[in-house]
């Protein structure tokens, strides 16, 4: 249905109004002006229904103030088009998403809809009913409140049911907007061109033997690239290409559809490597398990350590539950509610456990890093499906150990490798399709990973080429159903669907953009905000001038074992191998070195020592990075969670104030360099290394008058706000100060009755 309608809209022509609206929706009294009130529809976008004179409340006050406009529901988004003419400022918003505007909600981005009296709306409502007020909570944490009571009943009913139907009720994958969008976009040339394009940008997609071979070579790994699954013959659930230890036999590959195969993630310079696997059903364990472990152990010095993440980390359901509690703190409907929740803020933070889950993931990653870095042991991490927490931990380990992944392109390649090719079930985890049987499997695992990355980034800012804004935008993009990156459960799934949907059967699969093609969402200027101006590229090795100045690359990073009181405990050597096999025969392999109960305190103290030993050494932003895990160091990702809440915008403040200063200096440096160039003189070579990426300057300088900016830059501009401070009401103040105090509060300030004359 969509394709037939949508085919009219080419890329070039702005689709006309009439062709998208079913006849019964065109009412005679619709003024001609309505025509202008469409959002700019995307190629393949179709309006399902609309209602005029809908009131959109302004978020920041309890009064019934708001803006009137048209509310539409298309196959891509719920959109509100204000009756008021857009102001000039609105038009030149710096950080504009090309796909959707500030009053648009992509359908997959809708989290919950509430009706009157905050009643949660679920799919399958009684017909002919609609609430007068509709609140939409978005997955990117925006909150919209609409009043339908001013619209015509017919319209209101239709738009409400339309929105509920398209946002909350089960649908098939091909109804997702990506398919009609891609069919109607002459996306830059052909598929191959697109690939070419991406190649140039160097985000490694890990969809070819070469990509994998290349990555293994880069880390000097010594494993076997498997291409037998290129047509998903081994198993549709396995990646198209992957790497296993050398010693894995062909027979093992085909057995059990590859279940239990240790998949190579990354090789440490010492030769040991990180592998991940899905746990094997119990029946097979004694045999396969042992062989696989031996294969991993053979990779380097016959040592292996396993970590069963299912045992030690929260389950995907825990993660979902915790996140659901956490996000409620930020889905604020009104000011009073905000200040009320402000009082219990810190305690609520602890109670929801989200920060603790982040800490646990980071800690687990540090444990693995310790095994690789300090003990030079192969590590095999495993969990039930092998594609959730395994992905979190393995990618974090690589971020900590390998500076390449801390560059923008490196990071994107890492996500491709561990998450996309690694078979994280994005579709099931986000449940874009609202399938009843998938409700259980929904979980923000990828977001959890981004949270962990953010923690690392805020602790070691200059080590990362990408910015906080980049991470925030990436977390938003999960819910924009345009990119193939986040739409599928695994390689096989992607391949079969894209092929099936292809307009040209027998030929190349449907050509869809990946999220890494940021130009789909943002223009170049906005993309400049993705890079961190304080990041410096790794100094080149030609530092003849200063030989001693941090020439240390990865290989020299090993910590001296003298720093540790405890001997390496989790490795084993060949003579111990038999012993190991015995143990394996008896016990499920997850915890075969230490019993689970005695393990955790010991591990955490060992992690602590490892961290402290690392901390006393000079910090190298291009070497090993470890996060501090102590209470105060794990923080809330302010930009992501607080950006839409008007009351917590720091006008004139926030990190952007520093950013603009940095870019100012960068600008001056560039200007000076130009002057020097004019004089035909170049800078002494030893500074080249410390030279920051100069490109970022322009964009931020454009927005330089930091006084006008706020802490939620670049997501919200302060245009409509009065420069009035947010002041909690005095009622709340008196509420706050009860609690403790007690008789102390009644005491005289100066301790004695004599104090007053």
């Amino acid at each position: 249905m969509l394709s037939s309608l949508g085919s009219a809209g080419g890329k070039s022509a702005k689709p006309s109004f009439v062709s998208y609206v079913t006849p019964e929706e065109i009412k005679s009294e619709k003024e001609p002006s309505r025509k202008e009130k469409h959002p700019d529809l995307l190629p393949g976008e179709v309006v399902f229904c609309s209602a005029s004179t809908v009131l959109k409340y302004t978020q920041d006050d309890l009064s019934q103030r708001g803006v009137f406009g048209v509310l539409l529901c298309t196959n891509f988004r719920v959109s509100f088009v204000s009756d008021e003419a857009p102001t000039e400022e609105m038009v030149r918003t710096l950080f504009k998403n090309k796909l959707y505007g500030e009053n648009d909600i992509p359908l997959s981005c809708v989290d919950n809809i509430y009706g009157d009296k905050r009643k949660l709306i679920t799919g399958g409502l009684v017909k002919n009913k609609y609430p007068s007020k509709m609140i939409i909570h978005c997955k990117d944490l925006r909150v919209f409140q609409f009043s339908l009571s001013f619209s015509k009943e017919e319209d209101a009913k239709k738009i409400f049911q339309g929105i509920v139907h398209h946002c909350l009720e089960p649908k098939s994958l091909r109804c997702l907007f990506a398919f009609s969008y891609c069919e109607n976009t002459s996306y830059p040339g052909s598929y191959s061109y697109c690939r070419e394009h991406l190649r140039k940008k160097q985000t490694v997609m890990f969809d070819s033997v070469e990509d994998w071979t290349q990555d293994m070579k880069r880390t000097k790994g010594n494993c076997r690239v498997v291409s037998e699954n290129s047509n998903f013959e081994l198993s549709p659930k396995l990646p198209q290409y992957f790497i296993v230890p050398k010693n894995v036999s062909d027979e093992d590959l085909t057995k059990y559809q590859g279940k239990g195969l240790p998949m190579w993630c990354w090789s440490h310079h010492s030769g040991c490597a990180l592998f991940k696997t899905a746990s094997i059903p119990l029946v097979q364990e004694d045999n396969v398990c042992c062989r696989m472990l031996t294969a991993v152990a053979h990779n380097h010095l016959y040592s292996v350590k396993t970590e069963d993440l299912s045992d030690t980390l929260p389950t995907v359901q825990d993660i979902l539950l915790s996140y659901n509690r956490f996000k409620q703190f930020f889905l604020i409907d009104n000011t009073t509610e905000f200040w009320m929740s402000d009082m219990k803020w810190f305690s609520s933070l602890d109670n929801c456990g989200w920060l603790d889950i982040i800490r646990q993931c980071l800690q687990k990653a540090v444990e693995v890093v310790e095994s690789l870095e300090k003990e030079n042991t192969n590590v095999l991490i495993m969990e039930e499906g092998g594609s959730d927490l395994c992905c979190v931990v393995s990618s974090l380990v690589q971020l900590m150990l390998d500076p390449y992944y801390r560059t923008l392109l490196g990071f994107q390649s890492l996500v491709q490798k561990e998450w996309v090719a690694g078979g994280h079930a994005f579709l099931d985890r986000s449940n874009h399709l609202h399938l009843k049987d998938k409700v259980e499997s929904q979980s923000p695992v990828f977001l959890l990973f981004l949270e962990c990355v953010w923690q690392l980034q805020q602790q070691h800012g200059p080590a990362f080429q990408f910015s906080e804004t980049y991470l925030t935008v990436l977390s938003d993009s999960i819910h924009v159903p345009v990119f193939t990156t986040f739409l599928f459960n695994n390689d096989g799934h992607r391949d079969s669907l894209l092929r099936a949907e292809s307009p040209h059967t027998q030929r190349s699969p449907l050509n869809c953009p990946t999220v890494w093609d940021w130009s789909v969402q943002f223009d170049c200027k906005a993309q400049d905000l993705f890079t961190n101006p304080l990041y410096t590229e790794k100094p080149k090795q030609d530092t003849s001038v200063r030989k001693s100045y941090r020439p240390r690359h990865l290989r020299q990073l090993s910590l001296p074992s003298s720093a540790f009181k405890t001997p390496p405990k989790k490795g084993f050597f060949k003579d111990e191998a038999d012993n190991l096999k015995k143990i394996l025969g008896v016990k499920r392999l997850s915890r075969w070195m230490l019993s689970p109960s005695s393990d955790s305190p010991q591990t955490s103290s060992s992690v602590r020592e490892f961290y402290e030993a690392w901390q006393t050494k000079p910090l190298d932003y291009h070497g090993l990075l470890l996060p501090c895990l102590d209470g105060p160091s794990i923080r809330v990702w302010m930009q992501r969670y607080l950006r839409w809440i008007h009351d917590v915008q720091i006008l004139g403040g926030g990190p952007v104030a520093m950013l603009s200063k940095v870019s100012e200096i960068l600008g001056e440096v560039q200007e000076l360099q130009r002057q020097l160039d004019r004089h035909g003189c170049t800078l002494t070579s030893n500074h080249k290394g410390a030279r920051p990426r100069a490109k970022t300057a322009a964009a931020v300088i454009a927005a330089r008058s930091s006084v006008r900016l706020s802490s939620s830059f670049p997501f919200v501009t302060s245009r409509n706000w009065s420069f009035k401070p947010a002041i909690p009401t005095s009622l709340l103040q008196s509420l706050m100060v009860t609690g403790m105090a007690g008789n102390l509060a009644d005491r005289e300030d100066d301790g004695g009755p004599e104090s007053l004359v």
């Binding site: 901390q615 603009s660 008196s734 105090a741 100066d750 104090s755």
Partner: protein, 661 residues
């Protein structure tokens, strides 16, 4: 990124110095010598940066540097550090005027972070100094005696017979513990410590009177009340700078110069003086340059249980209101909780009744008193020292209510600032006596309203004016040199204020000229008794004790090396009013101060490292451009054209920067 504004270099630097100007640090003098030469300081961010980091380590650590393991991997990149050699001995670095009073060998420091260390404990008349050479790098712990709140003996049976233990409970959030052998031949080190830690209780002078360092800048000249009032545009037709208190007879806790309405007659004033607690009459603190709205501070009116009225006081407030033509109202912010203010009536205090004072609007800011704050900080210490409970960190901080009170203060100050700025209405602030919460609120509001106070010098003026000259009872609140640790007059109100400033600094990282180190240094010397700045309760007392002639000002030290305390991101926001967000969501526990003794909370590299490199690069480029231009112009025959930027002593390749990496 902005979270950890400033970090130290952990790594190799185990030679932490106290954050004290020190003869052993030649740079202090070197810089000061060339201080006037601004070009040099500008062009050598590197040198100062190294020092800056050292200072920071000194400020944030000065103890518990765990020994660095024999480091083969990076051994070759270890910078040669001057001073490394001399610390290999256990010589105690002394400041001028400091003398060693007792030495105890084989003392064990029971470090909560790195275990037992054995070494030598020295007590001088200024500090406690512990050094151990048993690890690969010297382990040093030093504590200013002024920071000691109390000394306690503790049980250390496990360390053998005749072993005694002592715990040094400090005001700065730590409590180091030592174990030592009894030695009959020597006076007990505890007694020596106690004697010099609490000099006033032992008839000894405070160390500030013995300290003999000389600085090229005289910090006592920072604050000149006439100059400050002149900057504000005073006197004007409505306000006059009065000398009525020049001999402190009218009010013994007020400064000699106060600003009062011009039209007030002397006899009229007498009534007001009698009606205000401790004679702290309403006086002007700050005047808005455009609207002429003012911040006025005072103490509570002596209303009493019978709701006394005072015609003179009522007329006085009317005059203040009339001085501002933009508004026909006066807003009074009573910092106290309304219930407490009511209770004060029974004790002859109280608050202005809106029915007696026409056009007056009274607001209570509901801020608890000094005892509640003291209790809150005590709880906070339990949370942060020595260990941190990871999983319940936030709830633990929550239960101290410390951040709630910070929020309350900021919210109150925002309301005051907003009333002036948007309401163009004059504001009067008082609590009970008008020297605690009042000082907190007026100075915070002034910091929001007036960008001058956000500069390094301006902030010093703010402290000198609102806190020191207006009689915040530093001696009583801190308990300088006094052994009575349980004195209920002690309370961390000034710390709370500095915390608020830090929170603002965090929210507006580019709006303040000073940095975190500056704030930490102020707090360290609030206790240290090294400088005279924070000694005594009032201006009158300071004059009597000749503080300005007999002690050194903290600002002498700070202003002799201002670059160490300067925020590299500073942008002058000029007339911009800054409203910090008084939401707990944007407040954070100041780990750089409260948790600084925990080695894990210490960043390895200052976050601004890269910016410093950038600044250095800019300076370097500037130098080259200048050089080339000079060459070009000299080849044309016209010499010495661009002398403005004449270059600095050049840097050999810029290495100093990287030595600390």
């Amino acid at each position: 990124m902005e979270k950890q504004l400033f970090g130290g270099v952990a790594g190799g630097d185990s030679t932490a110095q106290p954050v004290v100007p020190n003869r052993n640090k030649p740079r202090t003098l070197a810089t000061s010598g060339s201080k006037q030469d601004s070009v040099e300081t500008l062009d050598s961010p590197t040198g100062s940066h190294v020092e800056w980091c050292k200072q920071l380590i000194a400020a944030t650590i000065s103890c518990q540097i765990s020994s660095v393991p024999a480091d083969t991997a990076s051994g070759d990149c270890k910078p040669p550090r001057d001073g490394t050699k001399q610390v290999q001995t256990d010589e105690v670095p002394l400041v001028p005027g400091e003398t060693i009073k007792a030495v105890a060998k084989d003392v064990m420091y029971i470090c909560p972070f790195t275990g037992l260390v054995t070494g030598t404990l020295t007590s001088t008349n200024y500090k406690l100094y512990f050094i151990s050479l048993e690890r690969d790098t010297p382990f040093i712990l030093d504590v200013n005696l002024g920071a000691i709140s109390r000394l306690e003996t503790i049980s250390v049976q496990s360390h053998g017979e005749n072993t005694r233990g002592m715990e040094i409970v400090c005001k700065d959030m730590r409590s180091p513990r030592f174990a030592y052998k009894e030695d009959a031949s020597q006076p007990e080190i505890v007694e020596v410590l106690a004697k010099h830690a609490f000099p006033l209780s032992n008839d000894l002078p405070l160390f500030a009177f013995l300290y003999k360092e000389e600085f090229p800048v005289d910090g006592w000249k920072v604050y000149d009340p006439m100059a400050e009032y002149k900057r504000q545009g005073l006197p004007n037709e409505s306000w006059t700078i009065s000398k009525m208190n020049s001999s402190y007879e009218v009010c013994d806790t007020y400064p000699a110069l106060v600003v009062i309405p011009t039209s007030i007659k002397d006899d009229h004033l007498k009534g007001v003086v009698a009606f205000r607690a401790r004679h702290r009459i309403p006086v002007l603190s700050w005047i808005h340059p455009e609207s002429q709205a003012t911040i006025v501070r005072s103490s509570q009116p002596l209303v009493g249980p019978s709701d006394r009225r005072c015609k003179e006081d009522e007329r006085y407030l009317q005059t203040i209101m009339d001085a501002n033509a933009q508004s026909h109202k006066l807003t009074i912010f009573d910092a106290r909780q309304s219930s407490v203010a009511d209770n004060n009536k029974a004790k002859d205090g109280g608050y202005e009744s809106e029915s007696f004072y026409p056009n007056v609007e009274l607001n209570f800011l509901e801020i608890p008193n000094i005892h509640v704050m003291r209790e809150s900080l005590r709880k906070l210490k339990e949370v942060v020292y020595p260990s941190i409970d990871e999983a319940h960190w936030h709830s633990a901080v929550d239960q101290t209510h410390w951040l709630e009170y910070i929020r309350l203060l900021l919210a109150g100050a925002v309301r005051i600032a907003d009333k002036l700025e948007s309401g163009k209405t004059s504001v009067m602030v008082h609590c009970s006596d008008g020297w605690d919460r009042t000082a907190q609120l007026t100075s915070l509001a002034m910091l929001m309203l007036d960008s001058h106070y956000r500069t390094l010098r301006g902030f010093q003026v703010l402290l000198e004016k609102e806190w020191i000259s207006f009689g915040h009872k530093f001696a009583a609140r801190v308990g300088h040199g006094d052994e009575n640790h349980a004195n209920s007059e002690r309370s961390p109100l000034f710390i709370q204020f500095i915390d608020c400033v830090w929170q603002m600094n965090r929210q507006f990282p580019a709006a303040f000229e000073f940095n975190e180190l500056f704030l930490i240094t102020i707090l360290d010397h609030l206790y240290s008794c090294l400088f005279g700045t924070f000694l005594y309760d009032s201006e009158q007392e300071r004059i009597a004790k000749e503080v300005q002639t007999k002690t050194v000002s903290l600002w002498s030290y700070i202003n002799s090396q201002p670059e160490d305390f300067t925020n590299p991101f500073y942008v002058d926001y000029e007339h911009q009013v800054l409203y910090p967000l008084a939401s707990v969501r944007h407040l954070e526990l100041w780990t750089g101060y409260y948790v600084r003794w925990n080695p894990r909370m210490r960043p390895q590299m200052p976050v601004h490292q890269n910016l410093k490199e950038l600044l250095f690069l800019r300076a370097e480029l500037q130098r080259k451009v200048d050089e080339l231009e000079r060459e070009a112009s000299s080849s044309r025959g016209s010499l010495s054209s661009s002398s403005e930027h004449t270059s600095s002593p050049s840097h050999s390749g810029g290495t100093p920067l990287h030595t600390i990496v």
